[in-house]
């Protein structure tokens, strides 16, 4: 369990530090408090089991990433930052599931398997982002629009299916 907690805080510090670096590079000194507030919000949410607070931190973080990206910060760093925040978010919920259970059967095995999956998924995600930065091809606006609409519809359908499964 301590291992997971350490990983959560490591990922969180890494993710928020990159965001802070983005603000520093763009000389947005006034916004430097944001990563600090986000970290504090996360800590509070984790401590009081307020899941909505952690979710809110993730949402605000993503908005900040968009802002920093539009300001001209490196997309690779931001992709890495998003990936580690995703790891922290996943592990936070995993830790909550573990603590909610009175007894966990084969706990170490369960944790190790989850970490393996999460690591491979994050690496795959980063590789995909990396691939998109090197692969360059020209598409017409109509095709881009069509792909965007398709992506949104696909995502919507995926969310719908997942929420149906949960019900």
């Amino acid at each position: 369990m301590n291992q997971i907690r350490s990983l959560i805080w490591l990922s969180l510090v890494a993710g928020l530090s990159i965001l802070a670096l983005g603000f520093i590079r763009q000389i947005h000194w006034a916004l430097l408090f944001l990563p600090l507030v986000l970290g504090l919000g996360w800590w509070l949410g984790a401590r009081t089991n307020h899941r909505w607070l952690v979710a809110a931190v993730m949402l605000v973080f993503s908005m900040a990433v968009v802002g920093v990206f539009l300001g001209g910060f490196s997309p690779l760093w931001l992709a890495f930052s998003s990936a580690v925040m995703l790891i922290a978010w996943d592990l936070q919920f995993f830790a909550w599931r573990l603590t909610a259970a009175g007894k966990v059967e084969n706990e170490q095995q369960l944790i190790a398997r989850h970490l393996r999956r999460l690591a491979s998924l994050s690496i795959a995600g980063l590789l995909l982002v990396l691939a998109t930065t090197f692969l360059r091809f020209r598409l017409g606006f109509e095709i881009v629009l069509l792909l965007g609409v398709l992506a949104i519809l696909g995502l919507r359908q995926g969310i719908y299916l997942a929420s149906q499964a949960e019900k």
Binding site: S62, V66, L70, A79, A101, E105, L121, A124, G125, A151
Partner: protein
């Protein structure tokens, strides 16, 4: 917030921002989130197909007994990466060891077991269901199911063992037992002398009496011993109960009732029970071990209650009690109960009142202030007066300070029949 919605929302944010700014790199930032979402959706656990078997040992226990519960769950569906099995316990139980929920992985046809020990208060408890929650590989989407896992536990009251309860109702039943029947015949106790009848054994001839009469022989007669109809009435009115820091006085009443039922049924009497409180809970008269079990079950579920109708003992349904039978009321007593008890006595019922002392019970938890002591003395005088009046009316009253165990407190008073009781009044 729903985790899927949040993740979808973040992915939407990057896509929309990318489209709006016509920047492919911003679109690419959505990829880790979309990948995470996609993998999660593809590894959905599917419909949950599990079977549950519950065993409880023992299913019938006394209040201090540890109960071992074992819930065995078998996965009859596909592989489950993360599944939380939660057994729902009635609130009154105290978990001694083990866990009621388990997070595990389940292969097809695999069986996992949840085991725990618990202890509970008097009552009848139902175990109804097991909650199952299964997550996908990343714990994003989940499926829930409530599986029936039935079980029942009777936690019976503690039963102190009484050696004997001496009662003497006016009317007995035809079967032989241990209650003096006020009739001559075969028995143990001397009853009287009658003229010799042919067939009387020689050893029954009373030679002293016969010697005083010319040409007449007299035989000794013994008092027949038979079984009797006994009704136990447990006062479960909320107004009669005292709830102190050390518990409820009603629990002592329940314990006393159980002890009396056991002793009277061992003596082969026909026994019925009425729990008089928020409603009337009848256990119809019967004999033996099965009746004892019925009585214990009734006592296990007995709770105090309030009712406008049964607020006073006035509405005791006396017609149900056989004429001249023995009634034993277990009650802390209210002053208003005096009239009904006297009326019962006047109708020919033999009435015994076992009265757990509410004043001593409540006083034990109070600080010894001058005003408190005065109040206690006044309450004591009032109660003594009530008990004395009942005794004078021919009701046998036993005041029981519950600090002394029931079997010890009632060992001598209840095991000896006092022939001079009616002229003496109440014993306390």
């Amino acid at each position: 917030m729903n985790r899927i919605l949040l993740l979808g929302g973040i992915a939407y944010l990057f896509i929309l921002a990318g489209l709006a700014s016509r920047n492919g790199n911003l679109l690419a930032l959505a990829l880790p989130f979309m990948l995470y979402l996609g993998v999660s959706l593809l590894s959905d656990p599917g419909p949950l197909d599990l079977s549950v078997e519950r065993s409880i040992d023992p299913e019938r226990a006394s209040a201090n007994t540890q109960i071992h519960v074992r819930v065995s769950i078998t996965n009859q569906g596909g592989h489950l990466d993360e599944v939380l099995l939660e057994d729902v316990l009635p609130q009154e139980f105290e978990l001694l060891d083990g866990h009621t929920n388990l997070l595990t992985e389940m292969d097809p046809d695999a069986t996992v077991v949840i085991e725990y020990r618990l202890r509970g208060k008097r009552g009848i408890y139902q175990f109804r269901e097991l909650h199952v929650t299964a997550w996908d590989r990343l714990g994003l989407s989940r499926r829930k199911r409530v599986l029936p896992a039935l079980g029942q536990v009777f936690i019976l009251p503690l039963v102190p063992r009484l050696k004997r309860v001496a009662i003497r109702p006016r009317q007995t039943r035809v079967y032989s037992g241990t209650i003096p029947a006020r009739q001559g015949g075969s028995g143990v106790e001397f009853y009287g002398v009658r003229n010799y009848q042919s067939g009387d054994p020689m050893r029954q001839i009373n030679w002293r009496v016969s010697a005083r009469h010319y040409e007449d022989l007299f035989s000794n007669e013994y008092e027949q011993e038979r079984v009797a109809d006994v009704w136990l009435i447990l006062d479960a009115r909320s107004r009669s109960d005292i709830i102190a820091a050390r518990g409820s006085l009603f629990e002592h009443g329940v314990m006393a009732t159980a002890a009396l039922a056991q002793a009277l049924l061992i003596q082969s009497n026909r026994l019925g029970l009425l729990v008089y409180g928020g409603f009337l809970d009848w256990t119809y008269p019967g004999y033996g071990k099965i009746q004892y079990e019925y009585v214990l079950r009734s006592l296990a579920r007995a709770r105090t209650g309030e009712s406008m109708v049964f607020d006073k003992l006035e509405n005791l349904p006396t017609r149900v009690f056989p004429i001249s039978s023995q009634l034993i009321l277990i009650s802390p007593l209210q002053y208003v109960d005096y009239s009904i008890l006297v009326r019962l006595r006047a109708r020919g019922y033999q009435v015994i009142v076992i009265s757990p002392d509410p004043i001593a019970y409540e006083a034990a938890g109070l600080s010894a202030t001058r005003a408190g002591q005065l109040g206690q003395r006044l309450a004591r005088v009032e109660r003594d007066l009530l008990l004395r009046q009942l005794g004078q009316a021919g009701v046998q009253v036993f005041n029981w300070n519950v600090d002394i165990p029931f079997d010890q407190a009632m060992y001598i008073p209840l095991s000896r029949l006092l022939p001079w009781f009616h002229s003496l009044g109440a014993r306390r």
